[in-house]
């Protein structure tokens, strides 16, 4: 019984970590490459969930939502990129924080106008309904699916960033954007590509979270702060940092809430403050 309970909490923590990873990897690479602070990243996650709910309703299949939500969020992201983000790239962190804070409000009300204030559920596909046995404990199959999606994305990004030419270009851009541009890399196109991938992953995170947590108007704001914590403690622009940060924050928040509720609530903020002051480059910085 006791070990089973621990294993259950372990899986919950792992599943939350994977959602955080999907959100923070986009945010951190945009941060590292474009030096852009996007507070609206949480809003894109929310949009992913709502677009997923509508797509599933129109096409009658979860898998339609699974593919259309990232596409829809990427289109919204691309529009944002050309209207606002490109011109704010050199505007300094305060202006970026302000504009993307404004975007949070805009998206929040747009979602309320389009979908209303009530939480909308999304049915998990029949193949993933019910529970599966793992190491002697029973756990919802759909939550295993979330962990698997996170792991697949993690592996794909790792291969993409470390083993392909475009990955080498992105790493060069994070290391030194001007030098990369001088060496003939089209940095602006790279920025746009990375931004789109970040948006797609935020949309994906939203649609895979919806069957578990429902689509709510508050989901964007409540996930934003843990995601920012992951990005900062991991190190801006760092894939390994985002993985480590997601696992740390995911486990602290989930296990802490169960075993040490009084301490857990502030522990990730304490961690954030400690990293910012003692090791502002993050635990696993992208630049050597």
């Amino acid at each position: 019984m006791d070990t089973g309970y621990w294993a259950l909490q372990f899986l919950n923590a792992l599943q939350f970590s994977m959602l955080l990873f999907l959100l923070s990897i986009g945010l951190t690479v945009i941060f590292g490459l474009l030096h852009f602070v996007n507070l609206a990243h949480g809003a894109l996650y929310m949009l992913g969930a709502y677009i997923g709910v509508s797509a599933a309703a129109s096409f009658g299949s979860y898998w339609a939502a699974f593919f259309l939500a990232p596409v829809g969020v990427t289109i919204i992201g691309a529009i944002l990129y050309f209207t606002l983000i490109e011109r704010l790239r050199h505007a300094g962190p305060m202006n970026q924080v302000l504009v993307t804070f404004g975007l949070i409000f805009v998206f929040l009300d747009l979602v309320r106008m389009t979908w209303g204030d009530i939480a909308l559920g999304l049915e998990a596909p029949a193949a993933l309904a019910g529970s599966s046995e793992f190491a002697g404990i029973s756990y919802p199959t759909y939550r295993f699916f979330i962990i698997a999606v996170g792991a697949v994305v993690m592996a794909a990004l790792w291969v993409g960033l470390t083993r392909t030419q475009i990955g080498a270009m992105i790493r060069a851009g994070v290391e030194n954007g001007n030098m990369a541009a001088a060496l003939g890399i089209n940095v602006n196109r790279l920025f746009f590509l990375v931004f789109c991938v970040g948006c797609a992953l935020a949309g994906l995170a939203g649609v895979i979270a919806a069957p578990v947590f429902s689509a709510t108007t508050g989901m964007g704001i409540s996930i934003l702060i843990p995601t920012l914590i992951v990005v900062v403690i991991g190190g801006l622009g760092s894939l390994e940092g985002a993985i480590a940060g997601s696992l740390i924050v995911g486990f602290i928040e989930t296990l802490g809430a169960v075993f040490l509720p009084e301490v857990a609530a502030i522990s990730s903020y304490v961690l954030l403050a400690a990293v910012l002051i003692l090791r502002p480059q993050g635990l696993i910085p992208a630049r050597g």
Partner: protein, 331 residues
């Protein structure tokens, strides 16, 4: 660098007069709005001191205000102490919190400072939200107003309270202007402009930053006291980070680094909020779009843009900032 130009004095006097007139002639509802404006104006002035003149964009000013409000609540409701000493202690407590946060974060800048202040603000929010003793999510009620009956002043009346809030706004503005014009304020401006040079001149920049945050937190604490006594009820919502974000919006809306701008911003923000809320439920989209437009338009804000425009018209186009336009004539 801060200059209390004639234009700024005129705008301040006109705004305060307008608020007083609205408060005296309007009904209960008008006075509620006046108090809301005053609280927001005080908080925005306090944020402008660090963000506009020290380059320290804090995302914990809502939390600082909330800390003062809760300290006031604890001292009066939980310990039964008289309101006036409790308020002084609560504001001092907020100032200590601000100084400590400023000192700890003194080495960070830019987005790291923003994130660090966010972390400290959220810590305070979470602790209060989780505290059963402080009422948790439900907040605390029954906070007393100052008892000035020995002066023949009834603080219970909405008119008196509105005028009291306006008077405090004026006092906070004067205090902020006085500090920014002092040697300390000039040094702070120097650190903002060129930190390396100020260090080379032997200035302890971290100490100055910490003091600036402490002074700013003192002003934010005053806003907390006015807010706590206004509705005589406080809840953890006061400390949530989006409140700090809204205050930053108000500062930008009026004009960052102008000190009078935040007051104008508060008037515009609250008026707009009540106007728009009367028409539609979707007030946030209006704020969001307004904020985006203001930042994309150059980020000077309502007052800052007007001052800049006047300076251009007066043939001072060679001056880069609105601040310098007051250099000639009246210093």
């Amino acid at each position: 660098m801060f200059k209390q130009t004639r234009l700024r004095s005129v705008v301040l006097a006109a705004t305060l007069t307008g608020l007083i007139a609205y408060c005296v002639m309007g009904g209960f509802y008008a006075r509620e709005i006046v108090v809301e404006i005053a609280i927001l104006a005080i908080l925005a002035i306090s944020l402008d001191v660090v963000a506009g003149f020290g380059g320290m964009v804090s995302l914990c000013h809502g939390a600082i205000m909330g800390i003062a409000a809760y300290a006031y609540g604890i001292l009066t409701v939980k310990f039964g102490l008289p309101p006036l000493p409790s308020a002084v202690a609560a504001v001092a407590g907020a100032a200590v919190f601000g100084t400590v946060v400023g000192w700890i974060t003194g080495r960070t800048s830019g987005i790291f400072f923003i994130m660090a202040t966010l972390a400290f603000g959220q810590m305070a929010y979470t602790l209060i939200f989780k505290s059963q003793w402080l009422g948790g999510d439900d907040g605390m009620s029954g906070l007393p107003r100052f008892d000035l009956s020995w002066l023949g002043i009834k603080m219970g009346s909405s008119l008196t309270y509105g005028l009291f809030a306006i008077a405090l706004t004026a006092a906070v503005y004067i205090a902020a202007a006085w500090v920014l014009r002092s040697a300390f304020g000039r040094t702070l401006g120097g650190i903002h402009a060129n930190e390396t040079r100020m260090k080379a001149l032997g200035v302890n920049t971290i100490l100055h930053r910490a003091r600036a945050m402490g002074f700013s937190a003192l002003l934010a604490g005053i806003a907390g006291i006015v807010a706590a006594q206004h509705t005589q009820f406080i809840s953890p919502e006061l400390l949530f980070w989006t409140i700090s974000g809204e205050v930053l919006i108000v500062v930008i809306l009026g004009g960052l680094g102008t000190l009078i701008g935040p007051v104008i911003g508060a008037v515009a923000f609250i008026s707009l909020k009540h106007q728009v809320s009367g028409i539609t439920d979707h007030w946030h989209i209006v704020v969001g779009l307004l904020l985006i437009v203001i930042v994309v338009a150059g980020g000077r804000g309502l007052y800052g843009q007007s001052e800049h425009w006047l300076a251009m018209r007066a043939g001072k186009a060679e001056d880069k900032t609105g601040d310098k336009s007051g250099d000639r004539g009246h210093a």
